[in-house]
């Protein structure tokens, strides 16, 4: 690991002031410490933000819930407000990592995890995300775990977070404090980005930005939702494909449906066209199948991951049934 200096901040203003050009914030550390051991991340400074007073989970002004950026994943999943009003988020968080890691990982950090693409981790291999212009090892290499939607020749990596898939479906917003001391809100669906020609950036944050909270909007009632994660083993593995679905249920009709996919793209992938198709429809298998076809119509397989297209379609049908209590 490269040497680095370490400073501790006690509030947000101090944290953004302390951060130097090649510095990074550290909170849970579960991803960045590992990446630093591997030599993938090489910050010259870490600013410890564990003591910042942004770890509460509470009702917000718009009738939703505010998740402090430093609240632990396990506390968030198990908060009574989340379990009663946003069980989709509880499900998604508990589907990720292990008990130990969820006790360490923070909400802000969860959004900022890097891809688990093996070429990103292997310094001997080319990777445009790690080193712009070096090439993409996965494009024609080992790509069975890689993207089927929104990828480019620059990068075919997927974004690993489960929690973020639920947040995308919930239409959350991310509150960010800029280096200039100004706060702003970013819609969750625009928080992460597609690789296009520059894979080094996973999201639309500016250098020095600090996530302070994630805001969940008021939930429409009655709401049906479910998170389905498909992976190589029953627990403690990243998703091959995951789907978060939530909709309101009114007179036997699906209203305001939202479908987000994980494990298929460089960001949590919202299936907007499929959502549009399902709005106002009844909960039949035929409708679910059509929605799934629409959601994957632009999917493009790499050499080893065509299975993901079929898997994603079937996962969408299944999760829609499960949300409706018929899975």
């Amino acid at each position: 690991m490269k040497p680095f200096t370490f400073s501790r901040a006690t509030n947000q203003t101090e944290a953004i002031k302390l951060l130097q050009a090649n510095g990074k914030f550290i909170a849970g550390g579960t991803n960045i410490v590992d990446l630093m051991k591997e030599g993938v991340e090489k910050p010259s400074q870490l600013v410890d933000i564990q003591r910042l007073p942004i770890s509460t989970i509470q009702a917000n002004k718009s009738g939703g819930v505010s998740l402090g950026a430093l609240a632990k994943n396990s506390d968030t999943a198990n908060h009574p407000l989340i379990r009663s009003k946003y069980p989709l988020l509880t499900q998604a968080i508990l589907a990720g990592a292990s008990g130990q890691i969820r006790n360490m990982a923070t909400n802000g950090g969860n959004l900022l995890q890097r891809t688990r693409c093996v070429y990103f981790y292997d310094l001997a291999m080319p990777c445009n995300k790690r080193e712009a212009g070096s090439g993409c090892g996965a494009l024609e290499g080992l790509n069975k775990n890689h993207a089927i939607l929104g990828w480019s020749d620059t990068c075919v990596a997927t974004f690993p977070s489960d929690m973020s898939v639920a947040l995308a479906a919930l239409d959350a917003k991310v509150k960010v404090l800029g280096k200039d001391g100004k706060e702003r809100m970013i819609d969750f669906v625009n928080f992460h980005r597609l690789p296009e020609k520059d894979a080094t950036k996973d999201n639309n944050l500016n250098a020095g930005d600090l996530i302070t909270s994630i805001e969940l909007p008021k939930t429409g009632l009655p709401t049906k939702s479910h998170y389905l994660k498909i992976r190589n083993r029953a627990s403690y593995a990243f998703a091959l494909v995951s789907v978060a679905v939530i909709y309101e249920w009114k007179g036997n009709m699906i209203m305001n449906p939202r479908i987000a996919l994980g494990g298929v793209a460089h960001k949590p992938w919202r299936a907007f066209e499929a959502e549009k198709f399902l709005a106002g429809k009844t909960a039949t298998e035929e409708n679910f199948k059509q929605a799934a076809e629409i959601a994957l119509k632009d999917a493009k397989a790499l050499s080893q991951n065509a299975y993901k297209i079929t898997l994603a379609k079937r996962a969408i049908v299944r999760v829609l049934k499960m949300a409706n209590g018929k899975g």
């Binding site: 590992d34 379990r83 069980p87 509880t90 008990g99 130990q100 890691i101």
Partner: protein, 227 residues
């Protein structure tokens, strides 16, 4: 002969650290042949130089380990796991993968199970750490420790300190009503959850056991949980 008897006695009493044991085993030739070709003093050096002579940019960290206040001067890059093992002589916590994938390094920090390999020591200033060495009360083992013995919850024992620390904190989580991925009713949080075998397996999925002692680990945890 008498020398090896002494050694056996020492080992049985757990009066010696594993390293001292290995060193003596090697020294008296009772160990594997491989030891003959190893410079014992070099291989099992007592205190590494980075401990006796910390780098100039080292930081002071104060933490409470198993009830005792500890103060170390430490390279910022040092993990909590290496701090415990190399600086504080607490080698119970094990280094398996060192990348947060196996759970062998699990310790309890401020009451919660966490991975000491992915925790930097400098992040632990003022925190309370409990390791496998801090669980027994004198000669009286923690109920989970006793249950692992009673149910043969291990074979080689390397993952066991992590399994035990994890299990203890996991049962607290269940008492607190925390859900897991396989919990049926998520929307209502009720204390003192009754854990099925599936629940125990899911909640312990962060602790791998390469010997495959899983059925006995589940039995050990279940016994304490049902008491």
């Amino acid at each position: 002969m008498s020398e090896s008897k002494t050694l056996a006695e020492e080992v049985c009493e757990f009066g010696e650290s594993r390293r001292d044991f290995l060193k003596k085993t090697a020294a008296i030739g009772a160990g594997a042949i491989a030891f003959e070709f190893i410079d014992v003093d070099e291989t099992f050096a007592e205190v590494p130089e980075y401990v006796t002579n910390p780098p100039a940019d080292a930081m002071a960290v104060k933490l409470n380990v198993n009830g005792a206040e500890k103060s170390v001067q430490i390279d910022t890059r040092t993990s909590l796991l290496d701090t415990l093992r190399e600086h504080l002589d607490l080698t119970g916590s094990k280094k398996g993968c060192d990348h947060g994938q196996c759970g062998a390094c699990t310790v309890i920090i401020d009451g919660r199970r966490q991975l000491s390999c992915l925790t930097l020591a400098v992040m632990c200033d003022g925190k309370k750490v409990t390791t496998i060495e801090g669980l027994a009360n004198g000669d009286k083992l923690h109920p989970i420790q006793q249950a692992f013995l009673d149910h043969d919850g291990f074979q080689c024992g390397y993952c066991t300190p992590g399994q035990i620390c994890s299990a203890i904190a996991m049962l607290n989580e269940a008492r607190n009503g925390d859900a897991s991925q396989v919990t049926q009713n998520l929307s209502v949080k009720a204390a003192n959850l009754k854990l099925s075998d599936d629940e125990i397996r899911e909640r312990m999925s962060g602790n791998l056991c390469r010997c495959g002692a899983y059925p006995n680990i589940v039995d050990a945890i279940k016994e304490v949980h049902n008491k």
